[in-house]
Amino acid sequence: MNGVMLALDPVSYQLPEAMATSAGPIDWLFGVIFWISAAFFVGIVGAMVFFAWKYRKRPGHKSEPTEHYPILELGWTIAPIPILVLLFHWGFQGYIDLSIPPADAIEIRVKGFQWGWDFEYPNGESDNVLHVPKDRNVKLVMSSTDVLHAFYVPGFRTKRDLVPSMYTSVWFRPTKTGETDLMCAEYCGGRSKDANGDELQPSQFKGHWSMWAKVVVNTPEDFEKYMDGLAPDLKGDPAKLAERGKTIWTKKQCAGCHTIDGSKGSAPTWKGLFGKSHKMADGTDVVADENYVRESILTPNAKIVAGYPSPSLMPSFQGTVKDKDIDAIIAFMKSIKD
């Protein structure tokens, strides 16, 4: 019996597992519209099939002249109106609830870029995984550094475009601990060739579809622990600092272009880079010291390495890579000097 009910419940197989309060009203309305539509569909198609069979062409059978059915005509013009008004009303109400974040919400900053995400937590630390606390209101303040993207977590039923030069926001209240998916829902391009126009390995293709990120719903305690873990005290321990630099290399997408094993990617490898003197596109020789690395990260176009296209393929990380991240990157580069 329970199994039958489950199979009959459209929400159970047409929508993903609900992980936030926002899903409740949406799933309910989805179910309501499903059954209204199903009733209309069965009515229309049922009548169509029945009439087509009952009044099928056969010897001796004749059509009857069409009459006027003013009541019927008026009826089916007017009858749907109350249903439509109700659907509109429920949909709009749900929408308004989704757009007004409660005052006590925790604020997380979201940056979308081609092709990844950066989440900055209230303590100023950031990550490429979105952790959120269960049973707390969370508000995301979002913007894009390049083209349109959209923040979409099916489990939360939330979606909102990220627009360059504009802030948009969403809020939600997770109801279940666990992991779910975050995807980009506004087309933002893709790349499968390197700077020289050579085809990359399929595993290196990047684009709209690869803007996937893990969303982790923690208990509030675990969430605090997670945030603290993002800001370890690393002063005076170059090995740990380098370790952190390596994490940043993957988390901030540097790894998408720069290798650390000396192999050639779409950008210069970091192996053996630090302290080396090398040629720029304008012919000058520059030593890769702390200042140069910093400048390369914040204003990639200031100096372009010889042999790479101008303007640089590398986006500026101004604002997303913090000073202490740069320190860690430098420590990491030093650790792979040779």
């Binding site: 009044y55 439509l84 087309y187 499968s192």
Partner: protein
């Protein structure tokens, strides 16, 4: 038809004997390339839109094949992105928009009015050549410029410095739009001024009403494209900040402009499909359509509402709450005229004499599929639910049910219905029905899986996907193969009729429609004498079943 001795004059005379089968009246390549005959222009259009449909269909099959497995299946990511751009742009701008009006409309509308041709035959020919030029410009810029923006060309992605061709592409679309303005204008004037004596507005065939409503949209909506092209151009050339945030423009503004044209365009696509279905259902139930007036008016109100709902494509884009509310409310209104049509068609079957020919099967499929397309629109019109469904495969499935399940089914049904009229030959019913069955099944397999994966959270325009979506993608791809096979069979059924089909009698369906009341295929001047109409196009009660095939007593020359 009572014979009134009006000598046939006009341009038709300059190009051959007006009383000879239009296909035989003149021969040679030039007789096609410079033709002013609306029937031949319709066929030229038909050839081009069929090619476009074939190309768009091949891209669709390639896309589906790429998605058959996770990761790379046949092409790399950049190629995939170009393919779906080409698929969308070709299907929308080169195929669906011109399909019914320019091909079947051109052929049938003047005959249904009892006219010799459209009002401006020369303009009609130009509209075809402008279509070719526009198609050339757009295809050249998409292919040469490796445009990978999707058919919606959203800024700022489409404004990136490396994407120089988007402006050219939009210009191409504008040229195409210009060609549909000319067709629209021609239909409006023809309908107003060239109706034969007795063809009153209340006796206008529903197909003509549909073409008329479409023509209004074509003439009014397309100029917006011109403004968009102009603004994009000014931004490119003078650095004026309109859409590009790097220049201080507003990227969302582009979406307003784009949909202000493209949403009415959706009705340019669907209203003609509905118009064909009305004709087919009347013929094969032997009954006047229930609610003739309501159907005619619902076409006009769809045309009007089409202008007011463009914002429903942008519910997640950051419009004000007030505009969002307004657009949602207006969107729900569209359900009323759409519902009216479906209810009227269904009730027409009641007490009819239902003859399940291939065109009728397509018309009934239209009702089935369009109902699904329309009802799933209720989910998308409800704001909160749309937040979840927007830009997922749910939307993809929804508009394929409307555009392909609706317009394309109507178009193919119309082709089979008017094929004897156009070619003078009968197609093979059994082959055509097998094709129909595969098309219908394949279509549903392809797109029902897309509904489910979409509502489960699969975003559209993805080269690769998460493991949980794999079974749905597999099913959808297999469906696309069935659908493709069905389409091939239908193409074979139509083409083989041309070469080896049996000769068609003048009125193979026993239809009361005016277009069947002249020779099949029509003579160059459509009618030997200007017809005088004394009955409606659906007055089946005025004839016995036999007389339907042999000629209405009403129409017999009165001595």
């Amino acid at each position: 038809m009572s014979a009134v001795d009006v000598p046939v004059t006009g341009h038709a005379n300059d190009h051959g004997d007006p009383h000879v089968n239009y296909l035989k009246a003149k021969s040679g390549i030039g007789s096609w390339l410079y033709t002013l005959d609306h029937k031949r222009i319709g066929i030229l259009y038909l050839a081009m839109v069929s090619l476009a449909f074939l190309a768009g269909g091949i891209f669709a099959l390639l896309l589906r094949f790429e998605l058959f497995t996770r990761g790379k299946t046949i092409v790399d990511a950049e190629t995939y992105n170009r393919f779906f751009t080409l698929h969308g742009a070709i299907m929308v701008f080169l195929f669906i928009i011109p399909s019914v009006p320019a091909a079947l409309g051109n052929f049938c509308l003047p005959i249904m009015l009892g006219a010799k041709d459209v009002a401006f035959p020369r303009l009609n020919m130009w509209s075809f050549y402008i279509y070719l030029i526009g198609a050339g410009i757009s295809l050249y810029s998409i292919i040469n410029g490796a445009v990978d923006t999707g058919w919606t060309f959203y800024t700022p992605y489409s404004a990136s410095p490396t994407k120089n061709y988007v402006w050219a592409m939009t210009f191409g679309v504008f040229v195409l739009g210009f060609s549909s303005i000319l067709t629209g204008l021609n239909f409006l004037v023809t309908t107003h001024t060239m109706r034969a004596p007795g063809v009153t507005w209340r006796r206008l065939p529903l197909f003509v009403w549909g073409m008329y409503a479409t023509a209004i949209i074509q003439v009014l909506a397309t100029p917006v494209l011109a403004i968009t092209v102009l603004l994009l151009g000014m931004e490119r050339v003078f650095g004026l900040g309109v859409f590009d945030p790097r220049l201080g423009g507003d990227p969302v503004l582009f979406q307003h402009f784009f949909w202000f044209y493209s949403h009415p365009a959706v009705y340019i696509m669907i209203v003609p499909g509905m118009a064909i279905v009305s004709e087919i259902i009347a013929t094969f139930t032997r009954r006047a359509i229930v609610g003739y007036f309501a159907i005619a008016m619902s076409s006009l109100s769809l045309a009007l509402l089409g202008f007011l709902v463009w914002g429903h494509h942008m519910f997640t884009a950051g419009m004000s709450e007030f505009s969002t509310m307004l657009f949602s409310a207006l969107t729900f209104l569209v359900a009323i005229p759409s519902g009216v049509k479906v209810f009227n068609w269904t009730t027409t079957l009641y007490k009819g004499d239902v003859w399940l020919t291939t065109p009728m099967l397509y018309a009934l499929s239209f009702i089935f599929l369009f109902s699904i397309g329309g009802l799933t629109g209720l989910f998308l019109g409800s704001l909160s639910v749309d937040i979840h469904l927007h830009d997922t495969y749910y939307v993809v499935a929804h508009f394929h049910y409307v555009m392909m399940g609706g317009t394309v089914m109507g178009f193919i049904g119309g082709l089979f219905y008017w094929w004897p009229k156009i070619t003078g030959k009968l197609y093979n019913e059994s082959i055509a029905k097998v094709g129909w069955f595969l098309v219908f099944v394949g279509f549903n397999v392809t797109f029902i899986s897309q509904f489910i994966m979409g509502s489960r959270g699969m975003p559209r325009r993805y080269y690769d996907y998460l493991p949980q979506f794999e079974p749905f993608h597999k099913a959808s791809t297999i469906g696309s193969w069935i659908l493709g096979l069905g389409m091939l069979i239908e193409a074979y059924a139509l083409l083989s009729a041309v070469f080896s089909g049996k000769k068609s009698p003048p009125n193979p369906w026993g239809s009361a429609g005016y277009e069947w009341n002249t020779a099949t295929p029509p003579v160059l001047a459509n009618f030997v004498e200007t017809p005088v109409i004394t009955r409606g196009p659906y007055d089946y009660h005025l004839a016995t079943p036999e007389e339907l095939f042999d000629g209405f007593p009403e129409d017999a020359p009165k001595k």
